[in-house]
């Protein structure tokens, strides 16, 4: 049996989900936002703080944030996980929590994160620290890494700035349907092309937002979640892959570890890309959406640019991608990954309002960390998909 099948398919489920302070949240610390989102997710599940026996977090600037959160909430946790793999951290937390719940070592995992980077500094808070090989060149990271990847994708596959722009426009189209999204004003391709270049071929509108925001999910056994406030959103499969830390060491600038993380998640879930009703992925930059759609099997390698053309991933298109508006137009507090799980949960529950998909039973959630370094994929499904 492949180790991928050892993942406890459907044994755990998201019972509660919440966001807090999306956009601007002045007056709150990152820790307070993290705690608040966690409390809201518990209330959403119909659970109490006293039910929590495991905490999972990665705070923007406190590398021991897990300890700070345990103290702040006063949770007597049997397990605290502060694992940091960048924006994919929280999907890795979910993997660990699923195994621990299935093993009956813990019962209720709170996975929560918040950042006030917009109100506190107005800049992207990044945990990336350059090596002696990168530092003397003063590369702006992470965007330099993504610019180098995107330049290579354009060179090899004929991907164009119009293709990158189609990703930005699709995200904005979804955001227009989401009252929580930070940037909802219409965006045209002309405006996209007029935006300042930051690291070619990427311009300002190829970059995720710099916002405040917090998100949380509560994970518990699926059988227990059936008796809670909402229908369970089952964790059907998950997988992760790390290929490098610094961009110079990426084995192929146009192929990410999502190839492996996705394959592992599909194998565990027993579903493939064609079964997915939606993809919620970490669009730190427009090139990410193109790379991940290729690497997660939604189109062949090199075809991602053409795949997203013509509104294909916008509202009403052939594949629903980032239905909240994503990191490009909804929220990006520095590490976006957890928001993919919250949006998929809302869609699967039928709580997504004007952006609700007609069929929303299976979701591929995918998050990225570092400079395309860490990739983690999670497949969520309605109870009927078990």
């Amino acid at each position: 049996m492949s180790p991928d099948h050892a993942f406890p398919r459907g044994a755990t489920a998201i019972a509660g989900a919440a966001t807090f302070g999306v956009g601007e949240c002045p007056g709150f610390t990152a820790l307070e936002m993290t705690a608040k989102a966690g409390l809201m997710a518990l209330a959403d599940a119909g659970l109490e703080l006293t039910d929590v026996d495991a905490l999972f977090t990665a705070l923007p600037e406190d590398i021991l944030g897990g300890l700070a959160l345990a103290e702040h909430l006063g949770v007597n946790a049997r397990f605290v996980d502060n694992n940091r793999t960048g924006g994919s951290s929280f999907l890795n937390h979910l993997m660990t929590a699923a195994f621990l719940i299935d093993a009956r070592y813990i019962r209720t995992a709170l996975i929560t994160y918040g950042s006030n980077q917009r109100s506190a500094s107005g800049k992207l808070v990044s945990a990336l620290r350059p090596s002696v090989h990168e530092a003397p060149h003063k590369p702006m990271m992470p965007i330099t890494g993504y610019g180098l990847s995107a330049a290579r994708h354009l060179h090899l596959y004929g991907t164009t700035r119009d293709d990158l722009g189609a990703v930005a426009l699709a995200a904005r189209g979804w955001a227009a349907l989401n009252p929580e999204a930070f940037r909802r004003d219409p965006l045209t391709l002309e405006q996209y092309h007029a935006a300042r270049i930051v690291s070619s071929p990427l311009g300002v509108l190829d970059c995720c937002l710099v916002t405040d925001g917090a998100a949380a999910v509560v994970l518990t056994a699926t059988d227990r979640a059936r008796d809670l406030a909402h229908p369970p959103v089952a964790v059907l499969g998950a997988g992760t892959m790390t290929t490098h830390k610094e961009i110079a060491q990426m084995p192929d600038l146009t192929v990410t570890g999502a190839v492996q993380s996705g394959a592992r998640a599909y194998a565990a879930a027993g579903y493939g890309p064609a079964d997915m009703d939606m993809v919620q992925l970490y669009d730190a930059f427009t090139i990410n959406t193109i790379l991940f759609l290729e690497d997660l099997g939604f189109c062949p390698k090199g075809e991602g640019g053409r795949f997203v053309q013509g509104g294909a991933i916008a509202p009403g298109g052939r594949l629903a991608v980032n239905t909240n508006g994503g990191g490009l137009s909804c929220v990006h507090p520095g590490m976006y990954g957890l928001f993919t799980l919250v949006e998929a949960t809302r869609q699967i529950r039928g709580q997504a309002g004007a952006r609700q998909l007609a069929k929303a039973d299976l979701a591929m959630c995918h998050a990225n960390g570092g400079v395309l370094s860490s990739q983690t994929s999670v497949i969520l499904g309605a109870l009927e998909t078990l």
Binding site: S200, A248, L253
Partner: protein, 119 residues
């Protein structure tokens, strides 16, 4: 006699001396940045010196606030088979595949390798 310093310090000392070094596996594969053993299988490594020539694998241009010229960040594939992140002196933006050569900067706090287009 065993090395008294780690591979990173040894690499930086050579660079400070004006030599760009990398490592080789016995089967000829190259390793960079320097490590204790070959990544993946732990095979032994030996040191070698690069001639400093290569091609641009990818390049990104970063406009600066005037009058500063744009910055050019590159990934260079050295002829010996390893890849470095670096920068080019400002000027016209060369395309991917352009031939470049190393310019060792020994004066910085950390010695480093920039590149220039081969005329």
């Amino acid at each position: 006699m065993p090395d008294l310093i780690g591979p990173e310090a040894r690499y930086l000392a050579a660079l400070r001396d004006g030599r760009l070094t990398f490592q080789r596996r016995e089967d000829g594969g190259t390793v960079f940045p320097p490590r204790l053993v070959a990544p993946g299988d732990g095979a032994p490594l030996s040191w070698a010196e690069s001639a400093g020539f290569g091609v641009i694998h990818s390049i990104t241009e970063q406009p600066q606030r005037p009058p500063a010229p744009p910055r050019l960040l590159v990934l260079v594939d050295l002829d010996e088979g390893f890849r470095m992140l670096s920068h080019l002196a400002s000027g016209p933006v060369p395309s991917i595949g352009t031939r470049v050569r190393a310019l060792i900067d020994r004066e910085g706090e950390i010695p480093s390798v920039a590149f220039e287009v081969v005329p």
